[in-house]
Subunit: 169 residues, 2 copies
Amino acid sequence: MTSDVSPATRAAGAAAATTTRWLDAEEQRAWRAWLYSWMLLDDRLDRELTRETGISHAYYEILVQLSETEGRQLRMSQLAERCLSSRSRLSHAVSRLEERGWVRRQVCPEDGRGQLAVLTDEGFAALEGAAPVHVESVRSHLFDQLSPEQVAAMQDIGETLLRHLNDEA
Amino acid sequence: MTSDVSPATRAAGAAAATTTRWLDAEEQRAWRAWLYSWMLLDDRLDRELTRETGISHAYYEILVQLSETEGRQLRMSQLAERCLSSRSRLSHAVSRLEERGWVRRQVCPEDGRGQLAVLTDEGFAALEGAAPVHVESVRSHLFDQLSPEQVAAMQDIGETLLRHLNDEA
DNA sequence: CGCAGACAGTCAAACGCTCAACCACTCGGA
DNA sequence: TCCGAGTGGTTGAGCGTTTGACTGTCTGCG
C-alpha cells in the first residue's frame, strides 16, 4: 500500500518538478518489499494479539511503557512520546483503559497542569496475560523467519533510520 | 508503539504460558529499532505527502495501482488486494476518490456482479503532481540514509518475510 | 504583584476504518 | 428452468484518530 511510480507517471512528473530523483528498478523493488512486508506483519501481529487477548497493539504498548517505569506511572506527555502517539490520541486511549480499570489518572504533585497515568494491578495482570501471546507472534512471524545475519542487519537499518528521523525532527 | 516486555512481566508471563520463547536483549533491541523506525518513517512520509499534495498515502497507493494497469482500470477486489486493503475499506475510499473526480465506477462487462474502478484523467494528473513529492520523501528519509549494502539487506529481509506471510496466510 | 505567554491536557467535530449484514448477480445441479 | 449456494461489492453503525480550539496552570518579566 504505497508508493511506486509507473513509467508513464515518471516521465511527466520529472518534467514538472525540476529533475526528481526517481527510484530505479532495484530501489523500487526494495521499497515495495519493505513496505508490503511491514504492512502485512504489522496487521498480523495486531490481529493475533487483539483476537487472543482483546488488547490492541496500541493499548498493549501503553501498558508496556507504564510497566517499565519506576512506580508504574508516567506523565501523560511522556507516555505519549514513548508510544509515538499524539497527546490527544493518548488522552482518548487512556480514558478507554481507565474504563477497563487498567489505568488510573492522578493529578501530578509537582505540576498542577500535569496528569499521571498509573498502571493498576488489574492492568499489570492484563499485560502479563497478553505478553506471551504477543512475543510468540513476533517470534514466529519475524525472528523464526530470519537468519542471525538478517536480524543484525534489521537492527542496523532500524537504528540508522532512527538516528536520522530523531535528529532532524 | 508496541511491544516489548519488562523483566517483571517476563518472569510472571513465563510461568503462565508453558515456557514462552521470550526475546533476549539483542532481539528486543532489534525489534524496537525496527518497529520505531518504521512507525516514524511511515508517519513522516504520510504527513509530507498529505501536507504538500492533499493526498494521503492510502489514496496515493490506489491511484498508483490503477495507473499501472492496462486501461488504468481494475476490478474492485483486485484493486483491494494490490493495496493490501479490505474490500469495505477500498469501497469507501473509492467513493471518496469519486467525489474528487479522480476515479470513476463502471459496471464490469464480463461479470454483472463486478465493478471496475477507472482512473480518470484528473486522477492521473493528480498522481503526476504527487509522485515527485512522494519519491523525494522516500529518497531523502530512506535511501539517502542507507548504504547500498543496507538497501540490499532491506530488500532481502522484506522479501523473506513476504514469502512467509504470503505462504501461510 | 500582576499580567502575558508558554505549556499540559482535554474535548468536540470531522473523518477513516472495521465488522457484519445485506443486495445483486452468477453458476451448477435437479 | 428454477433454486440454492457462492461470490462481488456496498452500506451503516460503532469505534478510534486527527485537528484545532479551549481550559487551567505555571513561569518570567515589568
